[in-house]
């Protein structure tokens, strides 16, 4: 029983950082390509940033 609880805790500690990083990676993709359909306003807000770092834009 203790081993199972320990494993669950370990799994959570491994999964949580991965989930946080995946969430930020998703935000990075939305910003990099300016996907307004996912986050309205992101295209205009990060327009100059996107061009500066060499990502394609109109």
């Amino acid at each position: 029983m203790e081993r199972i609880i320990s494993r669950e805790g370990g799994l959570l500690e491994t999964l949580l950082p991965a989930l946080v990083i995946v969430s930020f990676a998703f935000a990075m993709v939305v910003i990099a390509y300016g996907f307004d359909s996912i986050a309205p306003g992101v295209h205009d807000a990060f327009h100059d940033f996107r061009h500066t770092i060499g990502m394609p834009c109109h």
Binding site: F24, A32, C57
Partner: protein
């Protein structure tokens, strides 16, 4: 496990700090090179570049925390530069695909691409520097 937990939280914090600094460096570099003529005000760009940079920095630092034992390099600078440039190249390839699908919306500019690649290297340097300082303190 406890030390791993502290490591990734520290990594996110370092990534955010490095990313904000990188965002402002990117702002200054583009102002100097003129690769893109800014359309927003300076104050607006200071905020947007800091926010965008923080997100990019957290992702690079997060991947470093997760993958540092699997990377082929021992040197922290090589590791951070490798991760930041690899992520940038992946995003850039995605951009090329989007450009081929929707050419009227996504345009590629060579000068901005070259600038972006060097900025990815700079991101790696800033993050590597912060990780090195933190390691010495620990």
């Amino acid at each position: 496990m406890q030390s791993q937990s502290i490591d990734w939280k520290k990594g996110i914090m370092l990534g955010a700090i490095a990313g904000i600094a990188w965002g402002w460096v990117a702002l200054a570099v583009n102002a100097a090179t003129g690769a893109f003529q800014f359309e927003n005000s300076v104050l607006q760009n200071l905020i947007n570049f800091a926010a965008g940079g923080a997100v990019f920095g957290i992702v690079v630092s997060g991947f470093l925390s997760l993958l540092h034992e699997r990377l082929p390099f021992k040197n922290i600078f090589l590791r951070t530069i490798f991760i930041s440039t690899t992520l940038w190249v992946i995003l850039r390839i995605g951009g090329m695909l989007l450009s081929s699908i929707e050419p009227e919306r996504f345009h590629l500019v060579t000068a901005q691409t070259v600038q972006g690649f060097f900025l990815a290297i700079i991101m790696g340097c800033i993050l590597g520097f912060l990780w090195k300082i933190k390691r010495k303190e620990a």
